[in-house]
């Protein structure tokens, strides 16, 4: 019972945050990017939050959407060499890579 009542409150709670999270940074309030919030959360463990790497792995916050998608597509096809992205990128569908590129670059 309690949960159902809470559900109504949550709807409001989520949306209070909406203005601050309008541009795809992972908030559930960001309706268009529901799944991409989770998809890009797979990348931050190596590339840093927002693509700003804290260590030896490359930062990816400087790439625009086309560059990002191009890199991912080339890793997937094998046209671009790497130590690990050539194993990771094939794990995503082309549509998922598109969603990831959009979420990470905010467009």
């Amino acid at each position: 019972m309690r949960k159902i009542i809470k559900g109504a409150v949550v709807g409001a709670a989520l949306l209070i945050a909406a203005p601050a999270y309008a541009s795809g940074d992972g908030s559930a309030a960001n309706q268009g990017n529901l799944n991409s919030a989770l998809l890009v959360s797979n990348c931050v463990v190596c590339h840093g939050q927002g693509g700003d790497s804290q260590g030896h792995t490359p930062s990816i916050d400087g790439l625009n959407r086309a560059q990002m998608l191009n890199a991912l597509t080339e890793f997937k096809s094998g046209a671009r060499k790497g130590t690990i992205m050539t194993r990771i990128a094939p794990g995503y569908t082309d549509a998922q890579l598109e969603a990831i590129a959009s979420e990470l670059t905010g467009n």
Partner: protein
């Protein structure tokens, strides 16, 4: 995508009540200075390790108004990841120690206390301080406990450490390696499946061999296994062949069943032989962390069965279990997996508390880097799609064989990069 529809409805509702909610929210924040900030549902997380800390942070990230509380007895957390490079002398203790300030800053209410029990009917947990905490959904990530036996118990682990939990155990093992005379044998006895960090014992062998090669060149590492094969075996073996003459791996069939362990004498006996170690690192078989058993989340088994899509316990509704303690079919028990499961679970918890009747299965991933030498790294990675039965691999694999020194060096550097970024994602 029923979630979308639901949330769209919520948005309209919100617009109607926005003014009123604003006032409530201001009141609630000033009125609860000692509790979690926000006015939304209460999500309580047990355990501030890889899984729990990530879950707390990501619930707050996905739903900033939720009241999120993290309960963890320790005020700082020493990671197991990179504890092997610590044994090898590559990083210091400070590098692998993390505080909870970052989580507080992210809006998580961090309580340093020990959880002692669950009252699921009333939606509360009890703490060792005597306090009771109410939750709307509970996320439990208590890590592992050991199946003591064969003469090896907790008291024995203070003499010959397993070092399979971070902190004092790891430090003790390092001190013993430093104190041992040259010419001795370090025995590592890896556990049987399933256990935390499948490549861990073999990275440990590598890092100890690296230390011995430089400081105690007449000493060696003997791995007495309880398995006949292990994670990234080909890649480890290739790396050992190239870099070490002081590692010997004996598979279970050849080693024989281990019958007793004497931590004081530093001996380990099998049905065939007794081996004497200068430093003994016996790693016991494992089960879910103690509190998971106390709470009844294991359903009488060793680990906690969960819904593979939401991580909700198959035994107790409203309680989710993630990380090493959970049965997640297809995924290894790793820190990266715990981090990934936490994100998927945080998402599911927010969806469920928003009234969603169904949660879309996630696509998630894991990578385990291991250092063979400071300049020789290997990895195994996977991308999975959740299904009700298990996590189905969509891609990934182990580092390819026969690569250049440059390739291995790059992977070693990226291993450090992974560590820096995942710990920043969790505790930064």
């Amino acid at each position: 995508m029923s979630n979308n529809k639901l949330n769209k409805t919520s948005r309209r509702d919100f617009l109607k009540i926005a003014g009123a909610t604003g006032a409530v929210s201001a009141f609630a924040i000033s009125g609860c200075a000692m509790g979690p900030s926000g006015t939304g549902p209460r999500v309580v997380v047990v355990g501030g390790g890889f899984g729990g800390s990530t879950a707390a942070r990501y619930v707050k990230k996905f739903a900033p108004d939720y009241r999120v509380t993290l309960i963890e007895p320790k005020t700082s957390y020493v990671t197991c990841p990179f504890s092997n490079p610590y044994l090898g002398g590559l990083v210091d203790l400070k590098t692998i120690t993390h505080g909870y300030g970052g989580l507080s800053k992210a809006g998580v209410h961090v309580v340093h206390d020990m959880v002692t029990g669950l009252d699921a009917a009333n939606g509360t947990i009890s703490l060792s301080s005597g306090k009771t905490v109410e939750y709307d959904r509970l996320i439990v990530s208590p890590g592992i406990d050991f199946k003591w036996g064969m003469g090896y118990d907790e008291a024995a682990s203070l003499i010959s450490p397993h070092a399979w939990q971070g902190g004092s155990q790891t430090v003790l093992l390092k001190k013993q390696l430093e104190a041992m005379d040259d010419g001795g044998t370090v025995i590592i006895a890896p556990p049987g499946n399933p256990f935390r960090c499948p490549p861990g014992p073999y990275e440990r062998a590598s890092m100890i061999a690296h230390y011995l090669k430089a400081h105690k060149p007449r000493s060696k590492v003997l791995i007495l296994d309880r398995k006949d094969k292990f994670s990234k075996q080909g890649a480890f073996m290739e790396g050992w062949k190239k870099n070490y003459t002081n590692i010997e791996w004996v598979k279970a069939t050849d080693a024989g069943t281990i019958t007793s362990v004497d931590a004081g004498a530093r001996t380990i006996s099998t049905e065939m032989d007794t081996h004497k170690a200068a430093v003994l690192n016996f790693i016991p078989n494992q089960k879910a962390g103690k509190i998971a058993h106390t709470m009844g989340l294991t359903g009488g088994g060793d680990w906690c069965p969960v819904d593979q899509i939401t991580f909700e316990s198959s035994v107790i509704p409203g309680v989710h279990v993630i990380g090493d303690a959970a049965v997640v079919s297809g995924m290894p028990k790793s820190g990266n997996a715990a981090n990934s499961e936490a994100k998927v679970c945080a998402w599911a918890v927010v969806q469920l508390l928003s009234g969603a009747s169904e949660v879309e299965p996630a696509v998630t991933s894991n990578t385990c880097y291991s250092l063979v030498t400071p300049d020789y790294g290997i990895s195994v990675t996977a991308v999975w799609k959740a299904t009700p039965e298990k996590y189905v691999s969509q891609g990934g694999g182990v580092s390819p064989a026969d690569q250049s020194d440059g390739f291995r060096k790059q992977e070693a550097e990226y291993a450090h990069g992974w560590y820096a970024n995942i710990t920043h994602d969790i505790w930064g």
